[in-house]
């Protein structure tokens, strides 16, 4: 077995670590949205759409890590 393949696998695993803090950020976002809905429930639909937009934006970082890892796995075989 070539050592390069193992190194590529380690690199792909490390690249996915970009999503480590994204979970924390998204959880914080959802928690604050819950707070906001508790404070004024009539604005629920507006809060929900804003929350989804914010979560999707912060997810970008994780997606970049995933892309790098996919490139490593499928391009440099």
């Amino acid at each position: 077995m070539d050592i390069t393949r193992g190194l590529i696998a380690i690199g792909a695993g490390l690249a996915v670590c970009a999503g480590m803090m994204t979970g924390l950020g998204e959880g914080t976002c959802a928690a604050h949205a819950c707070d906001a809905i508790g404070r004024n429930p009539e604005a629920e639909s507006k809060i929900r759409s804003t929350m989804i937009l914010g979560i999707a934006l912060s997810e970008t970082v994780a997606i970049y890590g995933l892309l790098v890892s996919i490139l490593l796995m499928f391009v440099f075989q």
């Binding site: 759409s49 989804i52 892309l67 996919i70």
Partner: protein, 237 residues
């Protein structure tokens, strides 16, 4: 050189959408504007009204007239591309060329709106703000919208497709091992009977839910980013 399977889907979807749009506009031409809309016209009218309302709230009455058709086509194209993998085709949005082109169109619109409302001098001066040293940052910042928008959509849809492929091959492995366990080591291709039990829920998540959310994000970002560059007094008029 091999042609990727996405390319066929792109051509197929573009032709089908073109036919559908032409047929719909023929239908609208024939319909009586005073009568109650019926059949397929009702949901289409609802979609046009909803998108027009969202555009009007963000970019103002005058720009909304021009922006609504683009946003509607964007909605239809991205959403159909995202859920087309339910029919066993590879989705066009898992090809970076498609998402980059869509993001480029949005980016071009943002630049046109900025040039229109700030003038060439103001547009060029924007590169030197807040201090002239920031020039390289500002140039990268201009293009980052395009890159991040295209990669967000592309990454989400591509990763959904890859996850589904992994799950299918895992289910294939489980069914093969189960059958060989029961029959006592008979090798050969086995029908993938685990996948129909597991896959539908995951398809609903990766294709329908993620596809819908990513469409919503792309379209909302398009409207909001264009609306950001229009001054409030122009929106009122």
């Amino acid at each position: 050189m091999t042609i990727q399977s996405d390319v066929y889907t792109i051509i197929l979807e573009t032709i089908l959408m073109g036919i559908a749009i032409i047929a719909l506009s023929k239908k609208f031409d024939k319909a009586d504007p005073m009568a109650k809309p019926k059949g397929i016209l009702t949901p289409v009218l609802w979609a046009v009204e909803t998108v027009h309302k969202t555009c009007r709230d963000n970019v103002g009455e005058k720009t909304a007239e021009k922006l609504t058709p683009y946003v509607l086509v964007l909605w239809a194209y991205i959403f159909i591309s995202n859920i087309i993998s339910l029919f066993g085709l590879s989705s066009p949005t898992s090809n970076l060329s498609v998402t980059l082109l869509l993001a480029f169109l949005t980016w071009l619109m943002i630049q046109v709106v900025e040039l229109k409302y700030q003038g060439i001098g103001g547009y060029l001066h924007g590169f030197l703000e807040p201090i002239p040293v920031m020039l390289p940052m500002n140039i990268f910042g201009k293009f980052s919208t395009m890159v991040s928008m295209s990669l967000r959509l592309f990454g989400n849809i591509l990763c959904g497709g890859i996850m589904m492929q992994l799950i299918y091959s895992f289910c294939q492995w489980i069914s093969t091992s189960l059958v060989s366990l029961i029959t006592g080591g008979v090798s050969g291709t086995v029908f993938n009977f685990i996948a129909p039990l597991v896959a539908p829920l995951l398809h609903a998540y990766f294709d329908l839910f993620a596809g819908f959310i990513q469409t919503l994000v792309f379209v909302t970002l398009t409207i909001v980013l264009i609306g950001n560059d229009i001054p409030d007094e122009a929106k009122e008029a």
